[in-house]
């Protein structure tokens, strides 16, 4: 399957000399033309995996084939197939957007006569045609990300690695980048390996999602299948009066297991129950609620079920650990 433009990974391990085991024996397979979302908190091992798959880091153990080529033994061949936008959009502030594209096209061996047209096409594609001759030092974060994407595409790669491509972007830039990635897959059949810590991004964009925590894949599947694993929706009630919170919480336990929530009263609904059953019961019980909402399971629920933490909580833990190490 890794032939053509897929990715296949078996027992991949990456240990740092004085650090933790960043990637701890992961297996994954990405089909040609698939968008694979690699979801996890900071420090989970996402970027290390990308560095190994893009030949920037040798694995400590295990094998990885990208486009049918072994990342250790056939690094140069892998690099001809892949486009990469790493977490930090490493750009030269003194060069213009067009300078970057010209440089990248030359280094990627794009034929000389094709370079100007290719640069122009990509500048238009990512909406930077007007800023093409401005120094990158004056670009916004979103513009830098878009240029980074254009640079990754300069040699028409078959496989695209995007390491947290929308981190720090405003919602508009984020949506534009999602559309671009979806278009690349649709029109050019590009395989996309995308790391993210945003649930929504994985949910909207990815055909399949791998959830990574502490270097291990804890869940994998389509977003729908992963959420279906959790199965039951959650019910969220906002008391009309704050003093009724405890009474409502107690009442709702008849219909499911309580969930931790600071904003409202929440339960994981038992099988077979729907919103109408709850509305009738609440009404009959004489309870006053300002809002009652049924929510389908999210990928955060999946993460919580698999790791015992929310994604947000895991990110905070990772940040605290990092702070402690310093």
């Amino acid at each position: 399957m890794a032939g053509d433009n897929g990715i296949e990974v078996h027992g991949l391990v990456r240990e740092y000399r004085k650090g933790p085991r960043a990637v701890d024996g992961i297996d994954l397979a990405v089909a040609p033309g698939e968008i694979y979302g690699f979801l996890g908190p900071n420090g989970a091992g996402k970027s290390t995996t990308v560095h190994v798959l893009t030949t920037l880091l040798p694995p400590t153990a295990g094998t990885a084939c990208v486009g049918g080529f072994d990342v250790v033994k056939e690094g140069p061949r892998v690099r001809t197939l892949i486009g990469v936008a790493l977490q930090e959009a490493a750009l030269d502030p003194l060069l213009t957007g067009r300078d970057h594209l010209r440089l990248q096209a030359t280094l990627q061996n794009v034929p000389k006569e094709e370079r100007p047209a290719r640069a122009e096409e990509l500048l238009h594609r990512v909406g930077l045609a007007d800023a093409a001759d401005r120094k990158v030092a004056g670009y916004s974060g979103g513009m830098k990300r878009r240029l980074d994407l254009a640079l990754a595409l300069v040699h028409s790669p078959k496989i695209l690695f995007l390491d947290e491509p929308t981190t720090g972007l405003d919602p508009q830039s984020r949506t534009a980048l999602w559309e671009e990635v979806a278009l690349l897959r649709r029109e050019a059949g590009v395989t996309v390996f995308l790391t993210t810590q945003y649930l929504e991004e994985a949910d909207v964009l990815a055909d399949r999602v791998g959830i990574i925590d502490n270097g291990r894949i804890v869940a994998e599947g389509t977003p729908a299948a992963l959420k279906a694993e959790i199965g039951r929706p959650s019910l969220h009630a906002v008391p009309r009066r704050e003093e009724d919170r405890a009474k409502i919480a107690d009442f709702l336990t008849r219909f499911g297991d309580p969930l931790e929530s600071t904003r409202d009263v929440a339960i994981r609904l038992r099988d077979g129950l729907g919103l109408t059953d709850i509305v009738r019961a609440v009404d009959a019980g004489g309870l006053e609620v300002a809002d009652l909402e049924l929510r389908a399971p999210t990928l955060d629920d999946v993460f919580l079920a698999k790791t015992g933490r929310t994604l947000e909580g895991a990110a905070e833990e990772a940040a605290a650990e990092e702070h402690g190490r310093r």
């Binding site: 893009t54 030949t55 920037l56 880091l57 040798p58 990342v71 250790v72 033994k73 690094g75 140069p76 690099r79 001809t80 892949i82 990469v84 790493l86 930090e88 490493a90 750009l91 030269d92 003194l94 060069l95 300078d99 010209r102 440089l103 990248q104 030359t106 280094l107 990627q108 061996n109 000389k112 120094k135 640079l151």
Partner: protein, 257 residues
Amino acid sequence: MTSLPQVEAIARRSLVRTARSPASAIPPLVFPIALMILYSAGLQSSTTLPGFPTDSFLAFMLAVPFIQGALFSTMISGTDLAKDVQTGFINRLALTALRDWALLVGQLAGVVALGVVQAVFYLSVGLALGVHIATGVPGVLVLFVFALIVSLSFGALGAFLALRLGSGESIQAMFPVLFVFLFISSMNAPRNLIGVDWFRTAATLNPVSYMIECVRSLIIVGWDPEALVLGFGFIGGIGIVSIALASRALRLRMTRT
């Protein structure tokens, strides 16, 4: 596919960066010349010392900017490369079809081109101020070749430091150390006229003295085979060692499979 376009692209980037950053482009041109003019004005009377090789201290000092400019180039090229390491730009390069050696050659080609521009500027200022080149046009050509090798060698040293240290601040911290070599040399006086023993010994042991004396011989003495052999020998040796060290450091830094 040939790597020549890649070398050219990296060299062009190096030049464009320098040209677009006045703080990098101007000091290597202005400071050595300013120092030369100031020293020449203040120390002209030392040409009356018995055994001083010329009656123009300006001609005597003209050799110094060639070496001082190269030290500036070391810092600029080193700082640029160190920034590439710090920002991750080197990873961007590592992910392309760029060959390791092409990155180093391209980077050094940019430094050498800057070195040639500097040499033309220093020489033009010297000639405009009335310096006569003792070896004539052939000597100027040899001087340019020497300046080119000096830029290459010091550029490689800068690249090595950048790749080893990986921080622009560390490179800049090294600059005063390199400058000490310049000042403890025959920069201001011929070695045989240096009265302080320890200073004369230090200047004699310092390879920078022989580089300055090589350029100086072309400007004020005429064809001096010993000065040329020593100057080219030392800078050639430093160049070979620096390039070897930089190549090794680059292989370690661009840890792609």
